[in-house]
């Protein structure tokens, strides 16, 4: 009984909100461009789903590409910093500066570099920059997280630097790296959407572009429909990566 309640609670709340929303729109006579009723949004979804699906796919591809680029760049860089304190010292200020620079501010630059015909490239790179940091800092933290007594054990048996990296630091870093990768996938979507707002054009055709386009034409129901798809995409991607993280962690520690 209580378990069923547990499962039903979020859906019940959504249902209540939808009913109140619908009733409010009907009674308050709100103009549809200001606040469309849930049924209007449903209609927009039904009418526009092929285009929305295509846009969602574009956003998904850009986000995943950005995520993978971030993983491929951040991981070896973190390993380099683990090998040499000098490299870590050299990289730290650049990384910190880049991290606090708003993505929106550097977006136009990447649009120019990518070429106006390829806005999706600029979006991918910008989203990758956003997704870079959780992976990098997760890996750096993880590489320094090895148990102190295990470090002593490696001292005792005269382990080389490479042995220490491969047999102690890298495997110790795995849970931290996975956590960073999980955070990064959410940020990659945020990055892809924000970057498309700034850098996008008809050529990029992601969900953010659909939202922007609908807003310019005051098609508010279409905006809500695109937002809904975006939310579902983000939640789905997060859930998928969390599942992947849990599976990998289970393999890592044997249960």
């Amino acid at each position: 009984m209580s378990r069923a309640l547990h499962l039903l609670a979020p859906w019940a709340l959504v249902a209540v909100i939808l009913v109140v929303w619908q009733a409010g729109c009907a009674l308050g006579h709100a103009p549809v461009f200001l606040l469309p009723a849930p049924t209007d949004i449903g209609a927009a979804l039904a009418a526009g789903w092929p285009a929305l699906l295509k846009a969602a796919l574009n956003t998904l591809v850009m986000s995943l590409e950005a995520w993978i680029v971030a993983l491929l760049v951040a991981t070896p860089l973190a390993m380099l910093t683990a090998l040499s304190p000098l490299i870590e010292r050299a990289l730290a200020p650049i990384a910190a500066t880049l991290q606090v620079t708003p993505i929106v501010a550097i977006a136009p630059l990447f649009v120019i570099w990518a070429g106006l015909d390829h806005p999706e490239r600029a979006i991918t790179v910008l989203a990758a920059i956003v997704a870079f940091f959780p992976v990098f800092s997760g890996a750096v933290t993880g590489l320094a997280s090895a148990d102190k007594d295990l470090e002593r054990l490696f001292d005792l048996y005269g382990a080389t630097r490479l042995q220490r990296l491969l047999r102690l630091r890298l495997p110790s870093a795995v849970p931290f790296w996975l956590e960073g990768a999980k955070v990064a996938v959410g940020l990659a979507i945020v990055g892809a959407v924000v970057a498309e707002f700034v850098a996008g054009s008809g050529g990029s055709q992601g969900l953010a572009w659909r939202i922007l386009e609908s807003s310019h034409q005051l098609r508010t129901a279409d905006m809500f429909a695109a937002l809904l798809v975006l939310a579902i995409l983000g939640a789905g991607l997060n859930a998928g990566v969390r599942r992947l993280e849990q599976t990998l962690l289970k393999t890592w520690r044997g249960r």
Binding site: L150, R152, L153, L156, Y157, G158, Q163, P171, G254
Partner: protein, 263 residues
């Protein structure tokens, strides 16, 4: 003499933590280091392992890789690797081929009673089993000096007694010298032929007790007169060591006279 600390002193941040402290170890000898927290027991162990250098004084130890092994208070296993891979680590770090390392590790696990658990990862082992895996890893290189830093502290009474007997049984096979650190007087007397009591701040020797009786211990050793006498002497030394700075002198005096009678 297989290893020795000669008049070693260790300072941390300008403050003396240990010494002057002198301890010599004969081959195959089992020595217990007992003392209050912060008396430098573990520091002495790290000096013997070569994991730390003394501020002053001299450390003599077997230089070869794998001649000295350490078991820490926690099992300190790598969570991503099986018990067998953990036990094989010292050999693999020394460049022994994977296949030979694994088969010797499996043998070491059998010796500590974990033959069946070779494929399990640390999260799948109980506390006592993990400690045994840690012991197997230490034994796999057949060290001449085995250093145990409160190895049973995290275990329940039954598990620690069983493991103590097992360590002594293992010792009988290859007879490494053993130095082990403990807070537990009974455990020290049960396992060691010589119990060295340390005083705190800075760590020095407060007393030394030789324990009569065969090793490994026969059944019922804990109820013998030799055990009782040695335990009382160690308790008295401990009181004496703590009494210096804290004014607990009366307990020390009483214990001392009792031990004197027993000896």
């Amino acid at each position: 003499m297989i290893a020795a600390l000669t008049a070693v002193e260790v300072d941390y941040a300008g403050r003396r933590a240990l010494g002057p402290f002198t301890l010599g170890l004969e081959p195959g000898e089992i020595v217990a280091l007992v003392g209050p927290s912060g008396c430098g027991k573990s520091t002495a162990l790290r000096l013997l392992a070569g994991l730390e250098a003394p501020t002053r004084g001299q450390v003599t130890r077997a230089p070869g890789r794998g001649e000295t092994a350490v078991v820490f208070q926690a099992p300190t296993l790598t969570p991503w690797a099986s018990a067998e891979a953990n036990a094989a680590l010292p050999l693999e770090l020394a460049g022994v081929g994977r296949r030979e390392a694994r088969s010797r590790a499996a043998e070491a696990l059998r010796r500590v009673g974990l033959g069946e658990a070779a494929r399990l990862k640390p999260a799948q082992l109980s506390g006592g089993m993990a400690m045994r895996a840690s012991l197997a890893r230490a034994l796999v290189t057949e060290p001449r000096l085995l250093l145990l830093d409160e190895p049973f502290a995290a275990l329940d009474e039954i598990a620690r007694r069983r493991l103590a007997d097992d360590v002594l049984a293992l010792w009988r096979d290859t007879r490494p010298a053993i130095v082990f650190v403990t807070h537990n007087v009974e455990e020290a007397v049960y396992m060691a032929a010589r119990v060295v009591v340390m005083s705190a701040g800075p760590g020095r020797i407060a007393g030394e007790t030789l324990v009569d009786g065969p090793l490994p211990r026969p059944a019922g050793f804990r109820t013998t007169e030799a055990f009782r006498a040695a335990a009382e002497k160690v308790s008295a030394d401990l009181d004496k060591g703590m009494g210096g700075g804290m004014g607990w002198g009366t307990g020390g005096g009483m214990g001392g006279s009792m031990a004197g009678g027993a000896a």
